[in-house]
């Protein structure tokens, strides 16, 4: 800890070329070092990591897939599931969270139920979801919804509760009605927490969609071996014993999750301009 603190002024005294400091360059370096280590370890058959196909082998398997419609269809299908489940979680979670944060009675009546349901992992819901819902898509969507809703809700409740009480007092003194306070104090006050809840929540939805697809199958319209969603794609590759393709699927999901988080972060900055100035 102390070493970290001490290094800050030392860096200021010893300026380096500006390019070296660019975050994008550092990101490239980070990934390149990781890939180089992996390639080396794989080729030298180091224990554990030596079992995995080398990045070069993975790349060889990946390139032809880029022209495969089925692969892109998997992207589309998983993304569609994630987005619909996630949007549903927001549509339900944000109003519920706001209601719990603003009404003591509503909170006391509903929160205990949510606290009991919350520790149940979304995957444990898969069998029930398959029985509950008429179509497989709805079942998967429901499991994704469950993955995101608790995080979103808890963030909304926490965010609304942490709004400075003086804002309410000031608003009330200046003549605000309850509705006005809700609209102009609570909503903007809770927005940063909604954004955080969304950022964490979208990550969980990707975890969940993959697992849901693995268990419940690709779900119709499989145009090629690679179709049926990214999760199903991994499962399919595993069944087929194609290890490089498993890794392709894993990396694809990683990239998809990263893009989703980046989009949400951008959206978050857009809707909370006052936080950008910190």
């Amino acid at each position: 800890m102390s070493a970290v603190v001490a290094s800050a002024p030392a860096q200021a005294l010893r300026p380096r070329p500006a390019a070296w400091r660019h975050p994008a360059l550092r990101a490239v370096i980070s990934i390149a070092v990781f890939l180089a280590f992996w390639e080396l370890a794989s080729r030298l058959k180091w224990p554990w990591i030596g079992q995995a196909p080398a990045p070069s082998v993975v790349l060889d398997a990946w390139v032809p897939l880029l022209r495969d419609q089925g692969y892109w269809y998997s992207w589309l299908q998983s993304s569609r599931r994630v987005v619909s489940g996630f949007v549903a979680a927001m549509l339900v979670g944000i109003p519920l969270g706001l209601a719990m944060a603003t009404s003591r009675r509503f909170h006391d009546l509903t929160f205990p139920t949510f606290e009991i349901l919350r520790p149940v992992p979304p995957l444990a819901w898969v069998p029930a979801a398959i029985i509950f819902w008429p179509t497989q898509e709805l079942s998967i969507g429901f499991v994704i919804f469950l993955g995101a809703i608790y995080t979103i809700m808890l963030n909304v409740i926490g965010g609304a509760r942490s709004i400075d009480v003086r804002y309410f007092q000031a608003a009330r003194s200046m003549g605000s009605s309850n509705w006005d306070i809700f609209r102009r104090i609570i909503l903007p006050g809770v927005l940063p927490s909604i954004v955080i809840g969304m950022e964490v929540g979208i990550g969980i939805t990707w975890n969940v969609v993959v697992a849901a697809e693995m268990i419940s199958g690709g779900g119709g319209a499989i145009q090629s071996r690679a179709g049926g969603g990214l999760g199903f794609f991994i499962w399919n590759s595993y069944i087929g014993g194609d290890y490089p393709l498993i890794v392709v699927g894993m990396i694809s999901i990683g990239i998809a999750g990263w893009i989703s988080s980046a989009v949400i972060r951008r959206l978050g900055i857009l809707v909370t301009p006052w936080l950008r100035l910190r």
Partner: protein
């Protein structure tokens, strides 16, 4: 700026009468009486400053005056009518900025009129006028976080003034500002008061601030809080910090106030309050300086 708009327009200064107010906190087992049989009058069109040891119950009094809380017994009257709940006729400026962080300076200032659905050409003109008055014309589109501490306090003054409160209540508003900015704010704020002659109630722990600003000075007792002494600060306005240092009357009042404060602080010191110990230390330094 149109001549029609003036700082005095629509001001109807109020008078607050506090009589025999009691306020307790805590449950049956651990009960603390914070305000005990407290009575005073905040006179119309005067700047009344309240000073007292930290933790003496000043903030509780403010919450009672503002209507955020109710007294256990006793009465608080504004222009003869009992105070019930928060309202625009008694606006509070809080210790640290309570500007809404998600609104620009302009939106913050217009908060009150919008909340009451009173946005007319006059209120917008008034907002414009106040924005100029507090010197934030070029900062109308900035968020509070982009403003310096002094600017934030001025924006908050404007946000309160546009509602034309009968009484403005200020809870250590300049605390946390650096010494230079603080003194500038004293001058700025007292000019503003002299122009409007609105009833102001100003709470502080800083004796120099108190004497610079006050028409009347209440020195509060240690907890449970009461008015220990009320001094008339009959020093002509406008005042400057430089003139006050050499003003015999000012120094006399200061010594008088400090000796009472010292006594009160010693009482809480003997009870073992850490805040009081700090207070005694800080003030003995000040006395040594003068």
């Amino acid at each position: 700026m149109s001549e029609a708009v003036s700082l005095r327009a629509g001001i109807q200064p109020g008078e607050i009468q506090v009589s025999n107010v009691f306020k307790d906190y805590g449950d049956a087992r651990f009960r603390t009486t914070v305000v005990k049989d407290c009575s005073f009058t905040i006179e119309r069109s005067k700047l009344t400053v309240m000073i007292g040891p930290s933790g003496c119950g000043k903030s509780t009094l403010i919450r009672l005056l503002a209507g955020f809380e109710r007294p256990d017994s006793g009465s608080i009257l504004l222009n003869g009518a009992p105070v019930s709940g928060p309202a625009r006729d008694r606006l509070v400026l809080f210790q640290e900025s309570a500007l809404f962080p998600w609104m620009t300076t302009w939106d913050n200032i217009l908060y009150g009129p919008r909340a009451r659905g009173e946005v007319t050409r006059e209120t917008t003109e008034m907002a414009e006028f106040l924005l100029n008055k507090v010197g934030l014309k070029d900062f109308r589109r900035k968020y509070p976080m982009q403003l310096s501490g002094g600017m934030q306090r001025r924006a908050e003054l404007a946000r309160a003034m546009i509602n034309n409160p009968a009484v403005m209540i200020l809870d250590e508003p300049f605390r946390g500002l650096d010494a230079m900015t603080k003194e500038l704010m004293w001058e700025y704020y007292s000019r503003l008061f002299e122009e409007t002659r609105r009833t102001n109630f100003f709470v502080t722990t800083d004796i120099d601030e108190a004497i610079f600003l006050a028409d009347r000075l209440f020195i509060m007792s240690n907890i449970p809080t009461q008015v220990r002494a009320a001094l008339e600060i009959d020093i002509p306005r406008p005042r400057t910090q430089l003139a006050l240092v050499e003003n015999d009357r000012a120094n006399e009042i200061k010594m008088q106030a400090l000796s009472i404060l010292h006594e009160e602080a010693m009482k809480s010191f003997s009870r073992g309050s850490k805040a009081a110990a700090d207070f005694v230390e800080a003030y003995s330094k000040r006395v040594a300086k003068t």
